[in-house]
């Protein structure tokens, strides 16, 4: 199957410090490669500061990468400037659903206006055609038509989440980037939204990049998982593989930190102490996890481990995986 999205050696470096001449280089996303197949849901996990958000902004073409390629279908998006991308037809093909729908919808737009905005801008719809399409989207995402005239503050958390999704699928994208779409929701509403997303994926043939903190949610809906640490992918593979047989010590630490609904008192679990290394001018020879890694050895400071196969479709970047 040819990939829908193929990211190759993507890199984003921000200059930091010292007016004029930058003193440091912050490696936010460093040599990241992965792909997403049509109809696939790929989870992206990692702690804050690991580069998830930067990666998402590069893929959504809100920021320009420093190096690397983003092949989407037949086009390389990396070469197109972020400024001006909004006017290109590719804009419609990659859409985003943001973390807190309450924060990301214009408070002065009604639900109707929020969903209509991308249709006006990218599809040029007006009048009855616009009305019809918005109603169609409201039906598809389970928003009662009577609520379309309401403002965000008059909607419940679940309804706002639906508006965020309706707006994102309005222009018929092929890839949806979901940035913690259920983080602000209660569990019972979360179930409904996750089921809606899975249903839409099937009906519309969408692919998802699902950014999340919540391993238990990733386990529910993702076909594959990518684990990032300090700008690099440290592990990726099929969900059952990565979460069931984690090969990288960071993935293991991440999983052992997830609280579990247990009936017995949990046994001692390894905890990840300390803070991540600085992402500014990192030593290219030292593993980014070295120093915090419970299994670190001198070899980890001599050469950067590369992503290598540890199982079918399962890669990990550790000398000792």
């Amino acid at each position: 199957m040819t990939a829908l999205l193929d990211v190759i050696n993507l890199q984003k470096i921000y200059p930091v410090g010292g007016g004029g001449k930058a003193r440091g280089q912050l490696h936010a996303v460093d040599d990241v490669s992965f792909s997403i197949a049509p109809g696939e849901t790929v989870g992206l996990v990692g702690e804050s500061g690991c580069g998830k958000s930067t990666l998402v902004r590069l893929l959504a073409r809100l920021h320009d990468p420093t190096a690397g390629a983003i092949h989407f279908g037949d086009t390389d998006l990396a070469g197109m400037k972020a400024r001006g991308f909004a006017r290109r037809p590719e804009r419609a093909a990659i859409q985003m659903v943001f973390q807190d729908a309450g924060e990301s919808i214009n408070p002065r737009y009604t639900a109707f206006e929020a969903i209509a905005a991308p249709l006006r801008r990218l599809r040029g719809l007006r009048g009855t055609a616009l009305q019809q399409r918005v109603e169609e989207l409201a039906d598809a995402t389970g928003i009662p038509r009577a609520l379309l005239g309401r403002f965000p503050h008059q909607l419940s958390g679940g309804q706002k989440a639906r508006v965020g999704i309706a707006r994102a699928i309005a222009v018929e994208p092929r890839l949806l980037i979901l940035d913690e779409p259920t983080a602000a929701l209660d569990v019972s509403v979360q179930v409904v939204i996750l089921k809606l997303l899975m249903d839409l994926r099937q009906r519309l043939g969408l692919s998802y990049l699902f950014v999340s903190h919540d391993i238990n949610v990733v386990r529910l809906i993702c076909d594959r998982v990518i684990v990032m640490y300090l700008g690099k992918i440290v592990e990726q593979g099929p969900t059952a593989e990565v979460l069931g047989r984690p090969a990288h010590p960071y993935t293991r630490a991440l999983l052992s930190a997830v609280p579990e609904l247990t009936l017995e008192p949990p046994g001692p679990r390894p905890r990840l102490g300390g803070e991540p290394r600085s992402p500014i001018n990192p030593d290219p020879k030292v593993c980014r996890f070295f120093g915090r890694c419970p299994d670190g050895r001198p070899a980890c400071a001599d050469s950067m481990p590369r992503l290598s196969p540890v199982g079918p479709g399962h890669l990990a970047a550790c000398h000792f995986a």
């Binding site: 702690e47 019972s188 409904v192 238990n216 009936l263 949990p266 905890r271 803070e275």
Partner: protein
Amino acid sequence: MSELLRVENLSVAFRTRGGIVRALETVSFSIARGETVALVGESGSGKSVTAYAAMGILDPAGQVTGGRIVFDGIDLTEASEREIEDLRGREMSMIFQNPRAALNPIRRIGTQIADVLLRHGNIRRADAPAEAVRLLAQVGIPDPARRSRAYPFELSGGMCQRVMIAIALACAPSLLIADEPTTGLDVTTQAVAMDLVRDLARERQMATLLITHDLALASEYCDRVVVMHAGHVVESGPVAELLAAPRHPYTARLLAATPRPGIALGDLAAIPGELPDLRRAAAGVCRFAGRCDRRRDDCAGSLPPIPPGPLHDAACWNPL
């Protein structure tokens, strides 16, 4: 174990433009010394209001309309503001969601810890800075002497939460109320912060009230769970018992909606309906009845009370 905090038939109402909101209705539970109790529920269930009422820091629009809050033999609903002020910070303290917002952005963290010590502790002014550094070291902040001179914006979210914990524990309180202390933190940081609170609580025989929407977090760190829905306590009991065999339909529904290993999306079920409008809810009647598939005719009658205490109990006429 001796009882430290006893909340008995507590009712709280808020005056709003839309009418009176009965945010809490006859809420009862207790915490023994050294015990860790989770207050669990979805948003709008009244968890935080309960904690704020116990701390005596309700919003001015909110009023305790009935019931008692007894802390170590003192009825806080009768106590003077002076007396409560004296307890707050020294005997009972609280850590909040979003630690960065709860800290003063323009004071060094060492100074903020010293403020609490000078206000509530028996300590000489000259000794306060050194004590602040010792407390920072205790919550596992590396290089505490240097960090005590930092401002909150210079620290990560996890570090700020440790500072909050250091402030809350500065005067060795006998009760700590932690209101969603790990919301917004990474799971790895959450685990470290929760381990820290648990270990310090054990060391000092400190009671902890953990307010959370996360049943899994409650199950890992708490002895007992109190489940709230729409301002009512619907069920309470020892954690293992309550999770293995929930008796209130709401608790069962909440569990059935919580993702966990070994459960597919198709096996999870949402809770039907929505929270009732607390401005219109009839007094003393089950507020889950409108969403409940086990409803019977007698559910319209007055709610069976849950007495405060360690037993497993559900406020339901037709429990599981």
